[in-house]
Amino acid sequence: MDTLTAARAQMGLSLGFHMVFAAFGIGLPLLMVIAEGLWLRTGRPHYLELARKWGKATGLLFAIGAVSGTALSFELGLLWPVFMKFAGAAVGPAFALEGFAFFIEAIFLGLYLYGWDRLSPRAHWLAGIPVAVSGMLSGAIVVAVNAWMQTPVGFERGPHGELVSVDPLAPFRTPSWVHLAVHSTLSCYTAVGFAVAGVYAAGLLRGRRDDYHRAGLTLAMLLGAAAALLMPLSGDLNGRVVAKHQPAKLAAMEALFETRAGAPLLIGGLPDPATGTVRFGLEIPYGLSLLAAHDPNAVIRGLNDFPSDERPDVVWVHLAFQVMVGAGFLLAALGLWFLWAWWRGRVVESRRLLQALLLGSPLGFVALEAGWVVTELGRQPWTVYGVMRTREAVTPAAEVTASLAVFTLLYLGLAAVLVVLLRRLATGGPSGAKGGSHAA
């Protein structure tokens, strides 16, 4: 395997792995704080049990997120030293701000996880709030780095191509940041809400119809459903930024080979870049022009408008986009179904809904990973869109194939162990009044 392919694979593996734990670090603390707040207000013990259980899971998942995030901060240089030498001064400030948010999250998570017996109930709950807030903030802030790579602004280049004048807050001034940050934050809440709900749906289907399981399902689904229903709106806003600033990415997402007015929206389909055609797709006339430009006759640029060495991989980007959108709409539909049943007070009685929620529980993470594939592969062949190509950014080190092999084994091993441990945690029922004092 050549160095570039191995480096891309290692970066993809590391980010794809880290993302799962980052999402849990954003979503689970919010659920845990809500549950503990409800316990403080109502005094009903199952809310406390949920907070303890979700705290334990957060402790386990946050640790893996922290170490895999550390690996990423090194890997930026280990795999892409030319990129970091070029762009470190531009993206570094965003990383620094994210670092502070992450630091706060780690500090207060320590207080929360180990402070059950040392802090008053109210102080303990208050210690959870910075965990949820800074978890969300660190995710939103670090996305600014990616936004800058997608739509770079705020710099001038010197005679050798180096950055000479940089706006340290440029990542936050890119046209894509706000929309990407909202989109990724919502996707984390969706993924975690539905994944957690699946655990309690499984319990309810096995006949454990206690307050603990009912509340666990309801809280997780209220979060997941609310986020999932906001997603189409956020997705639309994002899509229009892509249409404006990254037209080649939009063309690949939609497998639009030829530039045309009144472009249709393609649902499904397998693009064939050799012939420039799509098989098995469903076209909605004028759909793409309407969505991307809010005008049915707008001209949308196709892949033929770009030199062949500036086109992303249309097959992967299009398919990943279909998976993301498909999963997103399924999640929104599940969310509506749940809300309707909840409104009528019939969540637990509907076996079909519970079965659907169980089946749908991984979909949020499927959409999260697929959306990230769209964003990153859609940016190719660029590391910094229009400025630096990925192959220019890669390390000259000779050992990338070996490091890729080792990290693949490492992450597969960790994932396998985590599945076992989380299953044990999920099927363990309430942690009881005493057991949670050393949750880690």
Partner: protein, 331 residues
């Protein structure tokens, strides 16, 4: 004072914070691996108890240092990433396995023999500080050359140079010393005596390695030696040596709080001395702070953002340590 020196100063403070805080967490893993005697289970419990609430926060200082490095000195980060590709990857594997194994093992220590995850935790805690010490040594060794952005290695890899290997061993012994001294402050009775004896052992090794390192630096890294013996640095190192002796004496006389303060001072002063001796180089002899510095706007941002961030961070850290390490928090 030029901006890049202010930012480099923050970086050095970050290194010191990482060493005296996270270093002790690695040390905890070392003593978990080498837990022995009739109280080995209690030793492991005390270590897990001491690390649990704080290790993740302590670990973030490493990320702080890395982010500062690539933000303020991007070419230096790029050069180190290329030259230290192998040891940095090994460090990452060590960090990942240490953290994962610690939470996988969970808070309960069952039985007198180490669990499989306990062993992984211990072994990773031994390997990681050695590699980190070797990587720090590599920037002083002089064989990592950077010319017009091209990285070239003269002779064997710089992290395997004798100076670097000694730094690795010194880092390991220092972590063990820090942890054992801190643990004497968090335990009582015979368990405290266990950690006191371990601290005395590790302290002796630290002194022996430091004595061994001096002639090595003199022969192998003469410019670092010159820096260490300069008027600017020698008093710092001398103060570090005195404080090190105070920490040993305090430990010998079972004055544990004094020993803890002196140990922190000793490690901080030695790292400060190393940093000052290294000045103005980030990577000796080709990369200086000035040459590697990012543009002024970014440096200015970092120079202001770090103190502002610390205004939130330090009170939070104070709260964390007060709740878990304060006088009332002892087991």
């Amino acid at each position: 004072m030029p901006l890049e020196e202010i930012v480099a100063g923050y970086g050095l403070l970050g290194v010191i914070a990482y060493a005296v805080l996270a270093g002790a967490d690695f040390g905890g893993g070392i003593w978990d691996l080498f837990a022995g005697g009739p109280r080995r289970v209690q030793q492991r419990v005390a270590i897990a108890h001491a690390m649990g609430p704080v290790w993740e926060a302590n670990h973030v200082w490493l990320i702080f240092v890395i982010v500062l490095l690539f933000t303020a000195f991007p070419p230096a980060f790029a050069a180190l990433s290329i030259a230290l590709f192998v040891p940095f990857h090994l460090v990452l594997i060590g960090i990942t396995l240490r953290g994962a194994a610690f939470v996988f093992r969970g808070p309960e220590i069952r039985g007198p023999s180490a669990s499989p995850w306990g062993t992984v935790f211990g072994v990773a805690s031994v390997i990681t500080p050695v590699l980190l010490g070797m990587s720090v040594g590599a920037v002083s060794a002089g064989s990592l050359r950077v010319n017009e952005g091209q990285v070239r290695i003269e002779g064997p890899p710089p992290w395997l140079a004798p100076v670097s290997v000694t730094m690795g061993a010194l880092a390991l012994a220092t972590c063990a010393y820090l942890a054992a001294v801190y643990l004497t402050n968090e335990t009582d009775g015979p368990l405290r005596e266990d950690f006191r004896r371990r601290a005395l052992l590790a302290g002796t090794v630290v002194v022996a390695l430091a004595v061994l390192a001096l002639p090595l630096i003199y022969w192998e890294a003469p410019d670092l030696w010159k820096g260490l013996m300069s008027v600017r640095v020698a008093p710092v190192l001398a103060a570090g040596a005195v404080v090190a002796l105070v920490s040993g004496w305090a430990l010998w006389r079972s004055r544990f709080r004094l020993a803890r303060v002196a140990t922190v001072g000793h490690v901080a002063l030695l790292l400060l001395g190393w940093g000052l001796a290294q000045y103005p180089y980030l990577i000796y002899p080709d990369v200086t702070l000035h040459k590697a510095a990012a543009n002024a706007a970014t440096l200015r941002f970092v120079a202001v953002a770090v103190p502002v961030g610390l205004l939130v961070l330090l009170p939070s850290l104070w709260l964390l340590f007060r709740v878990f390490k304060g006088e009332t928090a002892r087991t």
